[in-house]
């Protein structure tokens, strides 16, 4: 049986008492609302089922937990405000184990057992890529929040979208002008030696060259590495900017060892916050990060000019001004990415309402409605900022933030324009058959 929300309500207390514990807090959040809260008008109507494929276990579990919490908060808000076309959303969460094989199985399960209306996806690129052929062939819309370049590359299929978060190619390109203009033109890059790292390597190298800069050295770290010190000597002496991006549980080791190695004689350091996502900046030995810069998808620390929307978003998800959980200040969120889960659900709602979505038979109409979207204005539903959606490549382009570490917090020094991250589309999904 599916994990129906109603069922969860009944199970909630029992679960708490027997402490199955592993049931992520997000599910608890979903079950906080009860059907009696729905306005009468649609209390009896069938819910819209959204299958959520999240990393509950495996290497991506830190992200998955926050994705689940964010999604649960957005679902609650949408349902409190009348749902989609008057119908409540039922979020059915399945764990992909951060594994592409299980990811594909989960998509099959959504389509044929849970019989969801749309599937809604996950972070790690390999899970998205492994799942997408199954989504396409089962004709199940699969809307992901992954930041990978896979959707925009045109290599997936017409049923896969990424409207809620900018892809890595765009993120990287939009950093180059600022880095070249403010930090230096001679760059050394450190990145993981797999596809995600190679995307950074390729797109940034090209982008910095266009700014008149050059990459002095490329340092690829093997995926099984747990210790990084011996890679830092490869950084050439005349490096002006050290560009780093790391993912996985080893990230904190990486950043610490970078600090130890360079001591006070460091070049300018620019990193992607992926290197420190879900990590507290007040962690001992991260002091050396003072004065270094980070890309952020969404500023983790509430800024002086914080918008009403960001304030609302934080409160709804349960995150404080430092990007940590309200209930545990040591529990730091994946703030630079998880906004995408929030925004994507409102986009699904928008498209479903535009096409008068009724049942799975309307999926083609839903796809076309998604492809009719063009822009999203900064608003409560889009707290990260406005975005431009390119229907040909099913990808959104948004503002990016560059923040400086000052007093163990990140202060935004630059908000890039959407145009900074634009590139020529590499495919056209709209020409594919439905």
């Amino acid at each position: 049986m599916s994990k129906k929300i109603h069922k969860q309500i009944h199970q909630q207390d029992r679960r708490r008492t027997i402490k199955t514990l592993g049931v992520a807090a997000g599910v608890g959040l979903v079950s906080k609302y009860s059907p009696s809260l729905f306005p009468r008008a649609y209390a009896a109507s069938e819910p819209i089922k959204i299958g959520a494929q999240f990393h509950r276990t495996g290497i991506g579990a830190s992200y998955g937990r926050w994705y689940e919490r964010t999604a649960a908060a957005a679902v609650k808000l949408i349902n409190d405000e009348g749902g989609i076309n008057g119908r409540p959303i039922e979020l059915i969460v399945e764990d992909d184990g951060t594994d592409p094989k299980r990811g594909a199985e989960v998509v099959e399960k959504f389509a044929t057992q849970h019989k969801v209306d749309v599937a809604y996806g996950t972070l790690f690129s390999h899970v998205v890529i492994g799942s997408s052929p199954r989504a396409g062939e089962l004709k199940l819309p699969y809307i992901v929040v992954s930041e990978g370049h896979h959707v925009a590359s045109g290599k997936l299929n017409r049923y896969v979208f990424q409207p809620g978060i900018t892809d890595v190619k765009s993120q990287v390109i939009s950093m180059a002008p600022w880095v070249a203009g403010n930090l230096g033109k001679k760059v050394t890059m450190i990145f993981p030696d797999f596809a995600f790292g190679h995307d950074h390597r390729d797109y940034f190298s090209t982008a910095i060259a266009q700014q008149g800069g050059e990459v002095l050295e490329l340092i690829a770290i093997p995926p099984t590495e747990t210790s990084f010190t011996r890679y830092f000597p490869r950084v050439p002496k005349d490096t002006e900017v050290l560009y780093h991006v790391m993912v996985g549980p080893g990230v904190l080791t990486f950043v610490k060892e970078m600090g130890q190695h360079f001591g006070s004689k460091r070049p300018e350091i620019f990193g992607f916050i992926d290197s420190l996502e879900a990590v507290d900046l007040a962690t001992p030995q991260l002091e050396f990060l003072e004065g270094t810069y980070f890309w952020e998808g969404n500023p983790r620390y509430a800024q002086a000019n914080q918008t009403e929307y960001d304030k609302f978003f934080r409160a709804a998800v349960g995150v404080d001004g430092n990007g940590a959980s309200l209930s545990d200040p040591k529990d730091v969120s994946t703030y630079a990415h998880m906004f995408g889960c929030w925004e994507t659900l409102f986009i699904i709602k928008q498209a479903m309402e535009a096409c008068g979505y009724n049942s799975a038979a309307d999926r083609p109409a839903f796809i076309e409605a998604m492809e009719a979207l063009t822009t999203f204005e900064e608003s409560r539903n889009h707290p990260q900022g406005s975005k431009v959606f390119n229907p040909q490549i099913h990808q959104s382009f948004g503002h990016q933030y560059i923040s400086k570490v000052e007093g163990q917090r990140l202060n935004v020094v630059q908000k890039t324009s959407i145009e900074d991250g634009m590139y020529e589309p590499e495919g056209d999904y709209t020409k594919m058959a439905l």
């Binding site: 514990l21 093997p222 099984t224």
Partner: protein, 294 residues
């Protein structure tokens, strides 16, 4: 950086890696040598040691050294106790059948891993170093704590060596390893020896974890790579040989670091793994073992 200092740094890093690896492998080797079983859950005992270290240091405010000292005493003890019960309740019941032990320990691997995930969450957890001291070489800075890790590993190694070769307990262990039935006939409680050896092996892995956790972080999936590496060390070194384990740990630790000076890192990993595999193929009894022990 010039070639010389680069090599020096790679060597230092290799030594740290070798020190930690040696401790983990020693635990595995003890279990392997005395009990003749493969403990696939060994890496999880290591992980448990690291996570417990994070948990225990969280009790103490103020000087991080206090928490660290508490962790290095309590953590391995707890892990040892858990391992003791695993041995009593499961391994003894399957009568140390090699295949059954592998399946049972795979089961234990999942159980420990998932219990840690449920209890402590999926995030990588940092532990503060007991002291912070940066050695400023002319070419680069190096963490003084890492040198302490090397020293601590050497001391522990000496202690284990002393226990095995110079004490009654060690004699009993060696007797059991050499010939289980004869040992039993001489009135040695083989079952008790097994339980103690298993607990000690897990405890050694936990000590290694507590030492490493201020350098790396505690994470519920961190047990896998050390498991593989320490397996390799144990086989290369030859079963039950402390000297072999030490030499093999040095070879593995250093080769990984130094080869990466010459090749691109991923290629270096491939080359060093292949080299070690070839050593095994052409000297399958290990460097210091005798063929009959396999």
């Amino acid at each position: 950086m010039d070639f010389g200092p680069f090599l020096f740094l790679a060597t230092l890093e290799g030594l740290v890696q070798a020190a930690v690896l040696c401790l983990i492998a020693l635990g595995l080797s003890l279990v392997f040598g005395v009990m003749r079983v493969v403990n696939v859950a060994h890496g999880e005992f290591y992980m448990l040691g690291a996570v417990l270290a994070w948990w225990i240091t969280g009790w103490f405010a103020g000087n991080p050294a206090i928490g660290f000292v508490a962790a290095i005493i309590i953590g391995p003890l707890l892990v040892g106790v858990i391992a003791y019960f695993v041995e009593r309740l499961i391994l003894r019941k399957v009568e140390y059948d090699p295949e059954a032990t592998i399946v049972a320990t795979i089961g234990i691997l999942y159980i420990v891993q998932q219990l840690v995930l449920i209890t402590f969450g999926p995030d990588a957890r940092p532990v503060d170093t007991p002291f912070y001291f940066l050695i400023e070489f002319p070419w680069f800075g190096y963490s003084g704590y890492k040198l302490l890790v090397i020293c601590a590993a050497i001391m522990l190694l000496l202690a284990v060596w002393y226990v095995i070769t110079r004490t009654r307990l060690g004699l009993v262990m060696r007797a059991t390893q050499y010939d289980r039935e004869t040992a039993q006939n001489f009135g040695i409680a083989v079952n008790q020896v097994y339980a103690i050896v298993f607990a000690t092996g897990a405890g050694l892995a936990a000590v290694a974890a507590v030492l490493i956790v201020p350098i790396q972080q505690a994470h519920y999936l961190m047990g896998r790579d050390p498991l593989l590496l320490s397996f390799i060390v144990v086989i290369i070194g030859g079963l039950g040989s402390i000297r072999g384990t030490l030499v093999a740990a040095l070879i593995i630790g250093l080769s990984d670091g130094i080869i990466s000076v010459f090749f691109s890192p991923t290629l270096a990993k491939m080359v060093s793994t292949l080299l070690v595999a070839m050593v095994l193929v052409f000297k399958p009894e290990g460097l210091f073992g005798s063929r009959s022990q396999l």
